[in-house]
Subunit: 298 residues, 2 copies
């Protein structure tokens, strides 16, 4: 089968054998946001030399404005509920490379446990790929990104979703706020001391709205060199994200999912708080689609 | 005397009699940010028909890149310390309307009580104008704005400064984030129900980084109409600002200083938390400059 992790800004394709092992993979920047109106064309070009009949897709490809608007499966939900929410997608007749194939899309997942709901698209599939490894009991998952997702999993079901807009806010403050004015144009390498100071100030500080101004005064009074200011801002924001995310944390491992440099920062931050971390790579999405296809009997 | 409250985006001029009463006033949008390199020219044009010899200035006109870079007076500081920090400014000889006058600038104020320092320019002068009204004891002042300032005053001295970047963050999220995409281009009138829901969610929620995503899901699931989303966002942010600002609040009145529509929102928010509010207008800056000139013996 072919598993397609089609996020907002990237497209990852995996070819899996019957046992769910990845035998080939491709990646491109044709994210769902850039592919509006030409999803069939892009997919056909990417899979024409892979002759597997079953293609499973997940991620923003199933969002409003994507290829097919998939509903959200409500929490709590495990593999079976997610699999039951999958829908078959008709790619149309104009792409010979897709003719005769069965395309299925994974639904998103929604948490309506509070007035302010929460949702995800794609991360539920990564979580599905991790369920067997996690086993029974209660687990915390963190998927850092532009929008970080925190999941609470219990006995194979996602119970709670919480999204932190940390990455997007970092970018906004960096590019458009008064805080960015004293920073270099591009992000220098991580300054570990400034990052750690940001973590500490974020965890011990007032609110994030108040603590952010400390980036301004750090520049005014030369607390850090200009090249270290982005790291201080990053530490402040991640410190605040963790502070809120771990309020009800009663110990135990936090499972970090992802592969980019951001994961290093979260691992460092959690370690500095004495939280045990276990890291998992992004190929979990492929495993998740394999498990969901099996659960659906495809 | 003439008192000049020269902020980043506006210029307010007051003419005061010997008893400190305002006898005339002018206002324009010639903020300090727009006047770089032509402060003397702008001031000369505004005061040429006012023949008072003493001109006192405060605000961003004294910032780095302003007309004169004024140092920060360190907290705790009252009227006398601020007055001692005032400096005479030489406008140069090219403006006949300023010849023979004495121009004095009020310093900013800095709080170095934590690793992350805090500062203000202009608000210290408004606080100075309120000191006599406040009298002895401990008081909380809040000056809402792009950067909200929270001051702790004790026995006539500013003890602590805390800045919340609430207004700037609102603008960034409104204009540049995913949250703004589902909002109308211009801010509609306040939707009180959505604002109050934002306040409540902000006070009862997780962290602001997490709660912000609720604006996205509110749009996805139709919790509010699009025109109400900016009010919900505003309530969320102000709710979080207040939650952090009032952690150590032991009761008593919060003094709100300012004059624009934003003050209404803070008054509503504080009232909803059962906090007693007293409002004061922005002319306090003129009173502050009068008191500082007196304290300095000008």
């Amino acid at each position: 089968m072919i598993a397609v992790d089609w996020g907002g800004s990237s497209l990852r394709l995996y070819r899996l054998d019957d046992a769910g092992r990845i035998v080939d993979r491709r990646r491109s920047d044709d994210g769902a946001l850039a592919c509006q109106g030409r999803f069939g064309q892009v997919l056909a070009a990417r899979v024409q030399d892979w002759d597997d009949r079953l293609i499973v897709l997940c991620g923003m490809v199933g969002a409003r404005g994507g290829w097919i608007e998939m509903p959200y499966t409500a929490c709590p939900a495990g593999l079976d509920a997610l699999a039951a929410g999958m829908r078959r997608l008709d790619p149309g007749a104009q792409w010979p490379a897709l003719a005769g194939r069965a395309l299925w899309c994974v639904p998103g997942m929604a948490d309506h446990g509070r007035d302010a709901a929460d949702v995800m698209r794609g991360e539920e599939t990564q979580a599905a790929g991790l369920m067997e490894t996690l086993g029974p009991g209660t687990h915390r998952l963190c998927l850092p990104g532009t929008h970080s997702k925190w999941l609470q999993v219990r006995d194979g079901a996602v119970m709670r979703i919480s999204t932190a807009m940390t990455g997007e806010l970092y970018g906004l403050l960096r590019r458009h706020s008064i805080l960015g004015r004293t920073m270099p144009a591009d992000d220098p390498a991580l300054d570990a001391a400034a990052f750690d100071a940001g973590l500490e100030d974020g965890r011990a500080g007032e609110g994030v709205l108040q603590d952010l101004f400390g980036v301004r005064t750090a520049a005014l009074f030369g607390r850090f060199v200009a090249d270290a200011l982005p790291s201080y801002l990053s530490g402040l924001l991640i410190g605040h994200e963790l502070r809120a995310a771990l309020i009800a944390h009663t110990g135990g491992t936090v499972h970090l999912l992802g592969s980019d440099a951001l994961l290093e920062r979260y691992a460092r931050a959690l370690a500095s708080m004495g939280v045990e971390v276990r890291r998992h790579d992004e190929d979990l999405a492929a495993t998740g689609m394999y498990r969901l296809a099996r659960a659906r009997g495809l």
